[in-house]
Symmetry: C2
Subunit: 494 residues, 2 copies
């Protein structure tokens, strides 16, 4: 028996336990070679990775140290006596092994895997094994089972409304910050739109990162309900409300591995929307040579997968294919994108047209869900709400309700202009490369970092013209961004 | 800039760095969300997982704590100033992603992946992604490329002899401890046989675990050379001499995931044999309904893969299919298997016949590599060396040279007899189940734990006869073993 000692060490996302290497009456090293131990006290039990300590100042004889995650999840107080044993791997790992061998899994098996993942019984390597096996092949019913399992293990928000709308883009296009325009338009119209967004996964920023420049986004479910009751809509960070905890764990592995399959995408998006209580959803699929979806065939395959899963989950969807040939708007990065969004909402004359057009079209599709709107009139209604300033007013109320940030963070003080190396017409802009330059410059961690695009596809430039300006908050960030742009600016001049 | 502080925390196999959560002038949490940081000082650099500390007693302002692995691999002294940055993922991860997408990789790409893995630049989840992608599909040239890459990143032993023989079994059959009989026979004949073995991966014990009961196995390359010069052979643990460090890293992930594909098996075995300086190799492939290879088709596929890779690596092989329908010998577990081996070498009348026959046959194949032996006479020569006691004498000299253990560890004091639930003839014994019972009872960590089989296939038993005896060093171990045997004893009585 070992006594629990809480160690102030945060080993996100894993549980870690700490033992003295010697003098506990068993070979700690042999436990460690097995990678995981089971810690049991009463009816509480966790699996944890084992670290060995050679200093009795950190952990004493007869003690087991628990890092923050392990301590919180075991949920027993310091000094409680616990036992440790070689962890038996979660039973559902047998299903993962079958998936690796090429089997197709049933609903109960997928449910068991997701239950164990949500309960933090899988190590990152086991999660990676599951995800990569699924990336090899995953059937449509498996994708549905995954979606359902992810909904079942998380919270669900409830709204007293027959129509709860949402809009989601699959991502991949820098600057494509339409949600922050669509949501206030829809709110101004009076539909319920409790939007939860993610932070950047592999991109320079997510909607939550951009909204955070203007307002608090770390909102509880209660606070969200309060804001929606008053303003019809909210733009919150989804991570706080634990809508799909299994998906959050999966993403913590997908992100560093940059895994992004259609099946995982559909399960992730649909599960979060169902958990958020949405009834009607517009999904934006940008299609372009450097977008996530690169051909019409792929777009149709993805559309059908969304439709199948959403229908079986009771969610009404409208799938929209949009132009994903280049970044949308001018800014890429939290502050720069927030500026673009505000320019559109304020109807400023130099607001990026493509961002405005794109957002209004999507808002129109959302408004078309409203039975009170005459068929096909969603678009003109959206345009009207934007032009009249009603959308801006709604946005200001939402910002106020969430908690307005005292001042927008400054743009990065370290800047560099990337020039055209020849004269000609811009024929292509590589979305992946633009995203990479912005990330290297520091976005989204550095809110003022990113790019501002001076020219878009179809425009004529002369040699030496500035294609875009890189912003960074540090010399190092600017250096990384410039190196990346130097290697390949992402612009093709024909 | 942060000053290195060495923390006495062993986070095998990963590098871990520790930072105060607050007060270092940047957001440590955002670094942590990225999972890995790069620590750079002068020309030294490592990637490390980041743990956040909330106690200045463990790590102070302006300091970065390095766990044992990270400290050793960065190889800079305490107090040295280092920089940290968001880790750029190893470039070779792009190839892993291509492999996940179904591509076939070339030699340079596989080489880059293995180089990064051997340099500990991959996290376990990244290694898992590579292994699972390879488990999905791997071409024969990819397997060869993997083998060559694994040899290139490790040490290579050199022997001044035209003929350096070895023998390897692919495993999966409990009790099949033939190496400890084959090696002394071959040594007695005078061939050079510097055998390196592994510890148990998924089995109740490996040859290194069993040999360790009798002699020291943790030998340096120099010590091995010294012993081989005198005794022609050695039975050492391969982990010490760093023959295939990339394979050791891969195995640290394969083991908990219980991944065991033919391709990884061939690359692992052939790379280690080439690195150990072998020129001629006998490979034992047991075939049986609960063995690793379960059909003649699979056996032939595996044989061809071994032959292709070995030939291109310049290694002469003889592949032998053997009876893998049940455990070999009577004992399963380090001490119990060592007893069986000694009984055979000592020509004791009750020595397990199947173990002796199996070992002599394999030794005969090894001796057939000797040009001085008349065609087909290897078997009779092996039998002669065993029967005459020359093999036993060679084993005693090898044990003496490696460092004889003062006394064999005792058999586990907690015992339980598993009885036949009906009368009849034994028609099958499940190798996987027998291995599992032995592991649950504590083998190999508990050297005296394991099973002793009283009956084998074809024998007649009466209801209540003892099928096997479980040994464990603790009541808990015995309990786990008995539970496992209770669920399924592994014996089928017809």
């Amino acid at each position: 028996m070992l006594r629990i000692r809480r160690l102030p060490i945060d080993t996100y996302p894993e549980n870690t336990a700490f033992l003295l290497r010697h003098a506990n009456g068993y070979s700690a090293e042999q436990f460690q070679a097995l990678r995981k131990i089971r810690v049991t006290g009463g009816s509480s039990e966790i699996l944890a990775t084992l670290a060995l300590v050679d200093d009795e100042g950190i952990i004493g004889h007869g003690e087991i140290g628990l890092g923050e995650q392990a301590y919180r999840r075991l949920n027993l107080s310091e000094g409680t006596e616990v036992e440790i044993a070689q962890a038996r791997p979660p039973a559902s790992l047998d299903y993962v092994r079958r998936k690796i061998d090429g089997d197709t899994l049933g609903e109960a098996e997928v449910g068991a895997i997701i239950g164990d993942i949500a309960a933090h019984r899988y190590s990152p390597m086991e999660i990676a094994a599951f995800l990569v096996a699924c990336a090899g092949f995953m059937s449509t019913p498996e994708t549905l089972a995954l979606t359902r399992a992810m909904v079942n293990v998380g919270n669900r928000l409830k709204w007293n409304a027959p129509l709860v709308v949402d809009k989601h883009c699959i991502g991949g296009i820098p600057g494509n910050r339409t949600s922050m325009i669509v949501v206030p338009i829809v709110a101004a119209h009076g539909l319920i739109c409790p939007k939860t967004s993610s932070r950047a996964i592999t991109s320079p920023c997510g909607t939550a990162d951009v909204m955070e420049v203007l307002a608090e986004v770390n909102l509880s479910a209660e606070k969200m309900a309060e804001i929606v009751a008053k303003e019809h809509a909210v733009l919150a960070w989804g991570g706080r409300v634990n809508l799909s905890p299994a998906d959050d764990v999966l993403i913590s592995v997908e992100r560093p591995l940059r895994l992004d399959t259609f099946e995982q995408m559909v399960a992730s998006i649909i599960s979060k929307k169902v958990a958020a209580g949405s009834t009607h959803l517009v999904i934006d699929i940008p299609v372009g040579p450097t977008a996530k979806v690169r051909s019409q065939n792929d777009a149709v395959r993805l559309r059908k997968l969304f439709e199948y899963v959403a229908r079986h989950m009771g969610l009404v969807t409208k799938i929209v294919f949009t132009d994903g040939s280049q970044p949308v708007g001018r800014g890429v990065g939290p502050v720069l994108e927030a500026r673009d969004v505000l320019a559109v909402l304020r109807n400023e004359p130099d607001a990026p047209e493509d961002l405005r057009d794109h957002a209004v079209a999507l808002a129109g599709h959302v408004l078309d869900f409203d039975p009170a709107i005459e068929g096909g009139k969603g678009y003109s209604r959206a345009l009207e709400l934007l032009a009249s300033g009603e959308a801006l007013a709604a946005m200001e109320r939402i910002i106020e309700a969430q908690g307005r940030k005292p001042a927008m963070p400054e743009l990065g003080g370290f800047q560099h202009e990337v020039k055209a190396h020849r004269s000609g017409r811009i024929v292509a802009i590589d979305c992946e490369r633009i995203a990479k330059v912005a990330r290297q410059a520091g976005a989204p961690m550095d809110q003022g970092a990113g790019l501002y695009l001076m020219h878009k596809i179809g425009e004529q430039v002369s040699k030496g013209d500035t294609l875009y300006r890189i912003y960074a908050g540090s010399q190092a960030g600017l250096g990384f961004g410039c190196d990346c742009a130097e290697e390949n600016s992402g612009y093709e001049i024909g």
